[in-house]
Amino acid sequence: MSALQKLGLIKKEKLTAEENIKKFIEKIKKENKNINAVLEINEKAIEEAREIDKRIKKKGKAGKLAGLGIIVKANINVKGMPASCASKTLESYNCGYNATVIKKIKEEDGIILGMANMDEFACGSSGESSAFGATRNPRNKELIPGGSSSGSAAAMAAGFCDFSLGSDTGGSIRNPASHCGVVGVKPTYGLVSRYGLIDLSMSLDQIGVFAENSEDAAYLLNIIKGKDENEPTTYSSEEIKIEKIRKLKIGIPKLSADPKIWKLVKNRIKEIADKNKWGVKEIEMPYVELGVQTYYPIVYTEFFSGTRKLDGRRYGEKIEDSCGEEVLRRILGGSEISKAEHHGKYYRQALKVKELIKEAFDRAFEKVDCVILPTVPKLPHKIGSKISIEDMYNYDTLTIPANLAGIPGISIPAGEIDKIPVGMQVLCKRFEEGKMFSIAKEFENNYI
């Protein structure tokens, strides 16, 4: 049952918020040990659900998320809950305030079920770098679920919640959504407030949503988006509406991925485009293939800067003394870039190519309405496989460009290869989330 259908039942008192939340908590307690998607359960969730039921009974009034259960990535502050970032560094850190997205969810009577596992400080693409153990893919427990929002995606796929929240800096929502067979959305940079998000790379991070389908995802995004005086990069925006698309030109970029994955995605595009009489065009996108090389110097630099507060004085441990390998690599790399003698060599060079990639998308959107491509260029590996640093970074070659360009992207299931879910991305112009969801819904309506 979709979250929106369930919401209808709760509001009509055919299902109570308590029943909904209890069912999720029992399921998490029973099944999480096999998946390791949830690090911490909100022990007050059932009590909060009862309060909502009382209000519905008494006044017949309830918020837009009345009694729905949401799991939150452990790098987003939820008052009274730990936000460990799946790291020993912040293992003992408890949140003293709500991130803006959490405040908005709570104002609409959404219930936080717990905190999700993730790659440590969002530094990873596999879900294996958590200090509290790897997350397993509910669709095939031997495989990685993808990352870094591994627990949020796995929780959604395992049926632990109605929605989950993640953060996407280079694909951290769309990548695990693809591997776990759920919908994952990275909004336009500035659509959703990052206030209360423990940052990886402030110029690229966006909080986004996981859901069972694109309609549910659009519904939650409408609630959490908006201008926030605590976050100066946010903008006001119109309501996201899903509408029937009559005329559309799809762009397919010439980027490399596993041929089996491209074949699956291209077949889906052809099938839906033929059915709707939409145009399809192959497009050249210069510099976009340099996404990984552009992304990492920026992330290393901004992560180094962002982690200077983690010195063990106000909370947690000193990060360099308590973190895992990939986190340390990014800190040491960022420290190297920040040295005076390298001024301009790495960071400014990367910022220049970032701008060229943004321009490539601007030019593409003059010719086409959206760009569709696979979400991840390869199938997920087995948990614990030895994999090189660059091969790990290359998981995000197709998701990074949207972050560099600041545009929205949604990953929806495209099909399966060897019983492994494969996702496809729909990318649109900045603040064209409505169009993006409308296109995604058309693909979902015709999913076999």
Binding site: G96, E229, R313, Y315, L356
Partner: protein
Amino acid sequence: MVVNQETIQKQAKEILDKFSKELDKVKEQVGETFVEREEDRREEGEGKEGDSYFRETMLKNAPSKEGDFIVAEKGKWVK
């Protein structure tokens, strides 16, 4: 977690140099970039009320404290 800092630092430098070499091939230049905003300042307003829960939680989070104060590096500079 025990990790060899020197090896990791070397790896990070190698990756950055490799990426930099590839980005160096891009000769095209870009113009100055800036963000256009309708408003370029925010209202400071009346300020916000103190949040006692936040204060209490952050004090609990602190590894070392003395009364209402977080002790950062007590006596480190005293011989």
